[in-house]
């Protein structure tokens, strides 16, 4: 009897350590993969990370090629994407969570929003080409690309914002109503302050996606050979992923180094944005605890 129990315990301990090793190896593999990626890009690209990379336009000479136009283009693109997608996204989330009656229709709409989040980005590119570029005559302007990217990340922002709003405890709402506050007052004074942290986190992560997306830009026909900076929302432009893609395709191996340098710049932007997301989340968490 005792012996039997011992065997069983031993088995459980063995199983436990196998699992520990399995999960450990999985995480380790991932880290090795990322380390390889960073090493590969870093080794090739660091040499080209100098001032001329930021002050020069593209060039046929790899040592003179820069990403000035692409960097300014990407920042201008985000100047469209951030306000448009956040405004529409948060408004729809508030409507769906706070105002809309829960019935089959809203369930159907919500299901479709979640599905849209999984649609490949090329499809959004085609949508942008048909609606913004051609029907609304925006061509391959910053505005057309910005609106396309906004539509691409809207589902993610809406879903993230809905989750955030839903996680606000109902007793807070009830307390607000109990003190005679209107719905609008409750939303601005109670719900938004306690959910904005998570909303921002979700939104910023989706902006990172918009920065890195290439497929919709290719479909919209965003040019890469450009020797000027955009002058306004209707100006043509190029973006970092397009420029990097173009360099990576060149026959001269020196251009691969420039592409790597471009990837480092893109990674730095992404990491900075994610750091902001974490900062906002922590700040919001602290506020909730107080």
């Amino acid at each position: 009897m005792d012996n039997n129990l011992l065997i069983k315990t031993n088995r459980r301990i063995v199983k436990d350590s196998i699992m520990k090793w399995l999960f450990g190896t999985a995480s380790f593999l991932l880290i090795v993969l990322i380390a390889f990626l960073f090493y590969g890009i870093g080794a090739d690209g660091v040499g080209r990370l100098n001032l001329s990379l930021f002050t020069n336009f593209g060039s046929r000479f790899p040592e003179q090629a820069g990403l000035k136009a692409a960097l300014v283009g990407t920042l201008s693109l985000m100047a469209v994407v951030i306000p448009v997608s956040m405004f529409i996204g948060i408004c729809s989330a508030i409507y769906l969570e706070e105002y809309a009656v829960k019935n089959k229709w809203t369930a159907f709409i919500e299901m479709n929003i979640s599905n849209l989040a999984g649609v490949p980005s090329v499809v959004f590119g085609l949508l942008g080409l048909t609606v913004f570029s051609r029907a609304l005559f925006l061509g391959n302007s910053i505005l057309a690309a910005g609106l396309t990217m906004s539509v691409l990340i809207l589902p993610i922002i809406i879903v993230a914002s809905q989750e955030a709003i839903r996680s606000v405890p109902d007793n807070l709402r009830e307390a607000s109503y109990g003190m005679g506050a209107t719905k609008w007052q409750t939303i601005t004074q109670v719900i938004m302050p306690s959910s904005i942290g998570s909303i921002l986190t979700g939104s910023i992560l989706s902006f990172s996606r918009a920065i890195g997306e290439t497929a919709p830009l290719i479909v919209l026909g965003i040019p890469v050979i450009i020797q000027f900076l955009p002058t306004g929302p209707l100006s043509t432009f190029t973006a970092l992923p397009m420029q990097i893609y173009d360099w990576a395709k060149r026959p001269q191996p020196e251009f691969a180094d420039v592409a790597s340098a471009g990837i480092i710049v893109l990674l730095v932007i992404l990491v900075t944005m994610n750091a902001f997301a974490i900062y906002f989340r922590n700040k919001a968490m602290k506020k909730l605890q107080n």
Binding site: F57, G58, S59, R60, S76, A79, V80, I82, P83, M86, F87, R134, G139, N140, T188, Q189, M192, P193, I196, G197, L200, I218, G221, I222, P223, V224, I225, I226, Q227, F228, P230, T231, G232, P233, L234, S235, T236, T238, D246, A248, K249, R250, P251, Q252, P253, F280, K283, A284
Partner: protein
């Protein structure tokens, strides 16, 4: 509450930025031409072949130094993709690594777009093999046809010449949307299917890497890509003519010596002074830029001819 304010501030800042950027986009050539000292300005848009892109980039780069106020933007959607935009009237000129197709001509007719065809350089479509491949030094057009046309069998090197290794040939080819594929289709496949086992890629570097890595590989792409990877790849001679700038320019490197084109809209040429100026610049400097980026210049007479054609559009 504070966060809501921050958010509102970000939103406001962004919209102010956009509004500030707004105004001055619409101004093109006209305001400039009113001035006494004539300065060209305007926005020119082009798109098309990625094979033509390196030479076009060099031309745009040089042109930007000469005419700072003319804003030229060129995309690389591929020859076919470029023509689609040209037909839709979205571009002023279209780069192509093959002559325009009949169906594209018809669509341009339907859309009422008149155009002028300009040759700017030569490219030699180059058949390449692995460096360790010491048998396939020379192929005839028939050999290439036998290799690349799908006939249901597994292709071996020994099928072409019994003295060659009895090993399967590994094929690499550019994607079907590229002008390079179209050109190969025209001279070799003639609308029969390409071997099904072939790896297709829009990115020529994928082909280069693939062929470098396999002793039994064969593939084709533009001469510039071979030129940049000479040390790690072997070019196959066609009917005993090896591809180099001389044989490509003289047309001896047959049938794979092909011209690269720019198609320019006549209406845009008449309307935009800057476009005419840019096209003149393209014709004047293509020879030099072709050499610089690994293509082959045309004979002088061809450029004179192109210039005449441009001038005849009035």
């Amino acid at each position: 509450m504070k966060n809501v304010k921050t958010l509102a501030a970000i939103g406001l800042a962004c919209s102010i930025f956009l509004a500030a950027c707004g105004g001055n986009d619409g101004s093109t050539g006209k305001s400039a031409s009113a001035k006494e000292d004539f300065v060209l300005s305007g926005n020119l848009a082009g798109d098309g072949s990625s094979t033509v892109a390196p030479i076009m980039e060099a031309l745009v780069e040089e042109y930007a130094q000469a005419e700072k106020d003319v804003k030229v933007s060129v995309g690389v959607s591929g020859t076919g993709g470029g023509f689609e935009k040209f037909i839709a009237g979205e571009t002023d000129f279209s780069n192509a690594s093959r002559p325009i197709k009949d169906e594209e001509k018809e669509k341009l007719d339907d859309a009422g777009v008149e155009y002028t065809e300009l040759k700017i350089a030569f490219d030699g479509l180059t058949i390449v093999v692995n460096k360790e491949n010491d048998w396939a030094k020379n192929l005839t057009v028939e050999d290439i046809e036998k290799m690349w046309v799908e006939d249901g069998t597994t292709k071996k090197w020994s099928d072409i010449d019994p003295s060659w290794p009895e090993e399967e040939i590994i094929f690499y080819a550019p994607g079907t949307d590229s002008g390079t594929y179209d050109y190969f289709n025209e001279v070799i496949l003639q609308d029969s299917d390409l071997v099904k086992s072939a790896t297709l890629s829009e990115d020529d570097n994928v082909l280069v890497t693939g062929i470098k890595g396999d002793k039994n590989a064969i593939g084709f792409f533009g001469y510039a890509y071979y030129d940049a990877n000479k040390d790690s790849l072997n070019a196959v001679s066609i009917n005993d003519i090896e591809p180099n700038s001389k044989t490509i320019e003289s047309g001896e490197y047959e049938p794979f010596s092909r011209p690269l084109f720019v198609y320019v809209s006549n209406a845009a040429l008449k309307e935009k002074e800057a476009l005419r100026n840019f096209m003149d610049f393209v014709i004047d400097n293509s020879a030099e830029m072709a050499d610089a980026v690994g293509y082959v210049r045309l004979p002088v007479t061809e450029y004179d001819e192109a210039k005449k054609q441009l001038d005849s559009v009035k």
